[in-house]
Assembly symmetry: C2
Homo-oligomer: 506 residues x 2
């Protein structure tokens, strides 16, 4: 046993994590002064900021192997200088005044790296550059971007109850690195729930729990790319975000037109693509359902060794039309079905599922493992609990009736303020498509959306989601706002749509 | 307004999500029979499995637009057939007997896709294939794989309290698609905490909250690769998992030897690599600290436009040596610092941080957004709360003392049962390195680990983590087990190490 030199007898005084203060570096005399200087220099270089707590005097003394009086004295000196203050029940914290002590930082330009041989090259120019969503950088008074459910209905109490049960019942072992496929308890619950509510044939062993549909698309795109695919057929119009994500991963999206029966499936073969991304149950953004004949043709296309990615993004929201079962059960070996809790609970949960064909399962699992190992365990167990107890079904019934009221409110407001507009895709989902036929095909709906933005309302111009040019339109998400706010938003939109409103402003 | 055809007057009876039952498809007479058949066929094709709940009769009747009696009668018929049963307080559920009704599934081979023109090509042969960890597929009695903390100490009560506070205080808007950089409240808390405990200079605006160090490495590898890098210097020995992950993303790891002073920094330039991955504060798996002179040389190497990835994977655990501040503060424009809560709270949280040089920030953010948009919001807010209230610091003190006791127990057991072994890396961290010098350099430690596995103990052979050959060794993670289990594990290991134990088995 030759580890003696490496681990001296355990004891106190081996140094503090706090500011990495090491007693060994203090002079034999003047330990208090050394400590005060250490604290002052941490304030000066910004490691301690206004509001930062100092450790309890006893704790720090023990870590440093000094008497408690040394630390008490050092804190007192900082207090005397106005750099720290004692707060009842909160110990000693750094004051706002301490901010003035900070040294100016080196300017970014002087700190820029100087490239040399073997240096990290600068970022390449040109596409694909994925734009970040403006929704998180620029607040707007009334954000009617599509895709958000009624977040005020998030079942906080049920979530907390489920979390309590999970924290009470789960084993310590469950908190380790989780199963990259997802926790087995959630996969079992999802298999049953997806079979019951969406008609899926999903073996729990082959479901992948993912961080939302976005992660499912990333993993699918990586896997297709690794197998040599370079194009993918997408709906036109179709989701801009999904298209940009596929591009980021090296797939070129080829648009296939959507009409009143959904994607024109007959045009798929001409694209030469080995895969297609579709929203068959509720096309984004038009809201149409893929017609039965098109479904059959699509399945036939897929069965020739191709892949259909079925993005079931908001199938749970349906108001006055029969449910549309998922495609997946008709050809589970050719369809990768994906969905999430983003439109039923909240996007901030980042919880979804991917039910892929078996022949892609191992590759997708490897890609997931290499991306972030596995999903967070606690939220997965909470969701499993919400499904098992029926709380998710109850929540869905509640939000569906709330969303229907909101849809009705926005429709009534559109009838009143924009009577000439054509409204599509209102039988289901969380958004509608507003067409403005009197404006003519050449009108720039991007400019129109910018004017809507100026009166405090964010909507998507339809052209964002188009590949080929087409008539102008606006996509309005209505689920995230109560009826009175929706009426206000429509009133404002009507005020800036040329010759569209009954009551023009000004 | 021309949407009339698309949305008939709202009302009940538009169909049920449950099995996508649509009243329109029922004959005018015999609705009950139609419903029974729909349920029976869902049982037969596996959409309803033993234990699946049926909806409340009133709910289903309302969805279908039929009288409640129809549903009550249909459920009764299933009960009569033994396919369903009523459970008090749980409604009606499918019985185990119903399993016999299931049709055999088509065999996987008959369902295999037939490739055709434009078909999804088969998976390419050859590396890099990331192996999945055996830890989640094969249980073992005593898993001493390195990397797990004491999960029984996970602060369940504090976590639940913080979650309650978060669910009470957070706005509905916070539950939307989050900031890809991470929630601003957590970034602020992390900036202060990392400055105080690790000496980092981190502006909250430039921290990225990530799903563990694994995601940080994935994003960094993608970004380096996109800028044309094809190699990366790594420690030898060093983490096998990290190396495999870098390989998955297209970077070739080039090993640089580690000695008693850490990485031999002088050999970095010879690799031609523009980036290096290091564990400077506690080298994995040897446990050595990068010596001061080597730190200076490494910073000089990085300042020539290169990138050092500082994996601070378990810096919080330190027993009898002074703290080692992070490298990052010395060259924030050349060092990407990453760490996580995996070794302090639990790996299952998948919560970590990446503090990158500014010039890589935008690319990393785009890569994160294209991978999964953003991290889950609730766990981020809970962690922010745990830092702000000091609960994380208190927890760290607790686990550090528990881990120290565990380390002492495993050391005492090794002294007793394997007195000839050399033990390294015990002053800090959650694992130690066991060297067996009397076995000779040529001995296969992989075979030795397999024999250890046969007596119910999992350890890593040192050779897993090596690139170039070297003396045999075993890596033992000790933090996840109480002292008596560790003594048992060491006793079993000693029993299979040739001529190593005092008391050989059998």
């Amino acid at each position: 046993m030759s580890d003696e030199s490496e681990h001296p007898t355990p004891g106190s005084g081996s140094g503090a994590d706090f500011l990495q203060l090491d007693r060994q570096t203090a002079p034999a005399r003047g330990v208090t002064r050394w400590l005060v200087e250490g604290l002052r220099s941490a304030i000066a270089d910004g490691r301690l900021r206004p509001g930062s707590p100092l450790p309890a005097t006893r704790t720090l003394a023990q870590d440093l192997g000094v008497s408690r009086g040394v630390v008490v004295e050092a804190y007192q000196r900082l207090r005397d200088e106005g750099l720290a203050e004692g707060r009842v029940g909160h110990g000693t914290v750094i004051t706002a005044m301490a901010g003035h002590l900070r040294e100016p930082r080196p300017s970014p330009s002087s700190a820029l790296p100087v490239p040399s041989a073997g240096a990290v090259p600068p970022a390449p120019a040109g596409p694909p550059v994925l734009p970040l969503p403006s929704s998180w950088s620029e607040p707007v008074e009334l954000d009617l971007s599509p895709g958000l459910p009624d977040l005020s209905a998030f079942p906080r109490a049920a979530w907390l109850r489920a979390e309590r049960a999970v924290l009470r019942d789960t084993t310590a072992g469950s908190l380790g690195y989780g199963d990259p496929r997802g926790d087995p308890r959630l996969r079992r619950q999802l298999a049953g729930w997806l079979a019951r509510t969406r008609g899926l044939r999903a073996d729990p062993e082959h479901i992948l729990v993912v961080a939302g549909v976005a992660q499912a698309l990333a993993l699918l795109a990586q896997t297709l790319r690794a197998r040599g695919a370079d194009t993918i057929a997408v709906e036109d119009p179709g989701s801009l975000g999904a298209r940009q994500e596929l591009q980021h991963w090296g797939l070129r999206p080829v648009g296939v037109p959507v009409d009143g029966d959904g994607l024109r499936v007959g045009e798929l073969t001409g694209t030469g693509a080995a895969a297609a991304l579709l929203t068959p149950a509720h096309q984004f953004p038009t809201g149409v359902v893929l017609a039965p004949r098109r479904r059959r043709d699509l399945l036939a296309w897929a069965r020739e060794g191709r892949l259909v990615i079925e993005d079931d993004y908001d199938a749970e929201h349906r108001y006055d039309r029969p449910p549309v079962p998922a495609l997946q059960a008709s050809a589970p070996d050719h369809i990768a079905h994906t969905g999430s809790t983003s439109k039923t609970l909240a996007p901030g949960l980042r919880l979804g599922w991917l039910v892929p064909p078996r022949h892609l399962h191992a590759d997708l699992l490897r890609a997931r493992y290499a991306s972030d190992i596995a999903g967070a365990v606690l939220p997965q167990l909470v969701l499993a609990h919400l499904i098992a107890t029926g709380a998710l079904d109850r929540h869905l019934r509640l939000v569906r009736s709330r969303h229907r009221l909101r849809r009705d409110a926005v429709l009534a407001a559109l009838r009143e303020h924009l009577p000439r507009a054509r409204v599509e895709g209102v039988a289901a989902g969380l958004h509608l498509l507003l067409l403005l036929p009197w404006l003519g095909e050449g009108v720039d709906d991007g400019a129109l959306a910018a004017r809507v933005r100026e009166v405090g309302v964010r909507v998507h111009p339809l052209s964002w989601h188009r590949l080929a040019p087409g008539p102008p339109g606006l996509v309005l998400g209505y689920a995230a706002h109560p009826p009175d706010r929706l009426r206000e938003a429509v009133h404002r939109i009507a005020g800036v749509v040329p010759a569209g409103g009954v009551a023009l402003r000004g």
